[in-house]
Symmetry: C2
DNA sequence: CGGGGCGTTGAACGTGCGTTTAGGCTTTGA
DNA sequence: TCAAAGCCTAAACGCACGTTCAACGCCCCG
């Protein structure tokens, strides 16, 4: 198994190869089966014992943090910003690259479990989405929003959330190829309604929006606007 | 604590009250802390020991099934279909009713964990969404879709998925009121971009949609249309 | 009054977890 | 050649879990 060049906070010793092997095996296992799997199983995947895992990473949480840091560094370093699609496309695009599919799966699993990486990950997704959207607006492809940041957060949350839900509903991927295959299938199911919604909207008129705008400018009762 | 009338597959004996108490406590606990909590903690919340929990429900999975069945029966029996909003509104609406807030939280937690209830739950959500949408189309409020079923699935998945992601990112609700409060906050954040998207769309023109429609009618290579 | 069923407990068992620790094995340097 | 340093293993510990089981109180029925 070819391991990546990025070290991402790993100790620079002779056992670095083993540590990387453990970390890669953990990303693969955690992504496939969730974070409930034991250290013995992770170690077995890497061809070592549980003791060695703890020797390098201190604790199970330490291993988790190392995986998080590595995954985040890959997502950050890979120039995924070059895409023209939304934030969910990042995951799909990541999964299409053979080597990075486990990382995409791990990221989703991490989002499912919550924690620090999940929050940081979503914040980056929102920031990237804002960038895409503003670029699209500047190019005249996308309509401007009254609150671009909120719109970016909304679209990123919707996209990643639906991906997350889909992972939860398809609990086990026994092969990493299944992940890619089912992801493409999901994409096919989504494409038409998404394009419809983005191109034509859903409501036939703007009364709902206008009523809301009236409401936020002049709430019926309570605190005055500063 | 007042317990509901719905029995949903519980044994009709003298110990029914205790079984209901255990089941309600389990729904509350599982919803708040996830399904990793032990039977002793659930039992303690209900004022009984772990042994009695297993006496009534056979195993931990049996308790989980009983909770699932009850939650699904409540969601089904309550006339939540009367809402005019989307499928995510069901959860929000459910959470607004004091008594049903734990049930809404449990449903989300179940969606997070996957399994049978999760799939059944989503299928019902999609079916309900289709009903709402078609009603809206019939009333002339919503635009018709080229594939109404796919659109319903898409919107339901997006809505529930974003809710699920939000729960994952806010890992612990120590009070059930926090859940309601944060849910309203989420609603406020979402309202404007959602209404914008639904009213005005995102793309300035239809080229993306038209290109996709051209593509699906005449794919560049491979299988012919039947 | 007596006994049998029911609801309930508390202790025990086996298992698997994360973690610790002692000690081999291999490599390296003087 | 010997010793030190590192990598790595295997066994064990404590713990919490789900689960089992024998026994205890209690109420109802005969």
């Amino acid at each position: 198994m070819r391991s990546s060049d990025v070290s991402a906070g790993l100790a620079e010793g002779a056992g670095q190869a083993a540590a990387e092997r453990i970390r890669d095996a953990a990303i693969l296992r955690y992504g496939r089966d969730g974070f409930a799997v034991g250290l013995r199983a992770v170690g077995a995947d890497a061809g070592v014992t549980a003791g060695l895992v703890l020797h390098y990473f201190g604790s199970k949480e330490g291993l988790r943090r190392a995986c998080d840091a590595y995954v985040l560094s890959v997502i950050r370093s890979e120039k995924l910003k070059a895409t023209t699609g939304g934030p969910a496309v990042v995951i799909a695009q990541l999964a299409e690259v053979e080597e990075y599919a486990p990382i995409a799966l791990y990221a989703l699993r991490s989002l499912q479990a919550g924690g620090e990486l999940a929050i940081e990950f979503m914040e980056q997704m929102c920031a990237d989405a804002l960038e895409y959207l503003e670029a699209g607006v500047a190019q005249g492809l996308l309509k401007p929003s009254r609150d671009p940041v909120a719109r970016a957060r909304y679209l990123a949350t919707q996209a990643m959330g639906s991906l997350l839900l889909w992972v939860s509903l398809h609990p086990e991927f026994h092969e990493i190829d299944d992940f890619r295959k089912e992801l493409r299938q999901l994409w096919d199911e989504i494409a038409l309604p998404a394009l419809e919604l983005f191109s034509e909207g859903l409501f036939v008129d703007r009364t709902m929006l206008d009523e809301y705008l009236m409401y936020v400018c002049d709430p019926p009762a309570g605190d005055a606007k500063p």
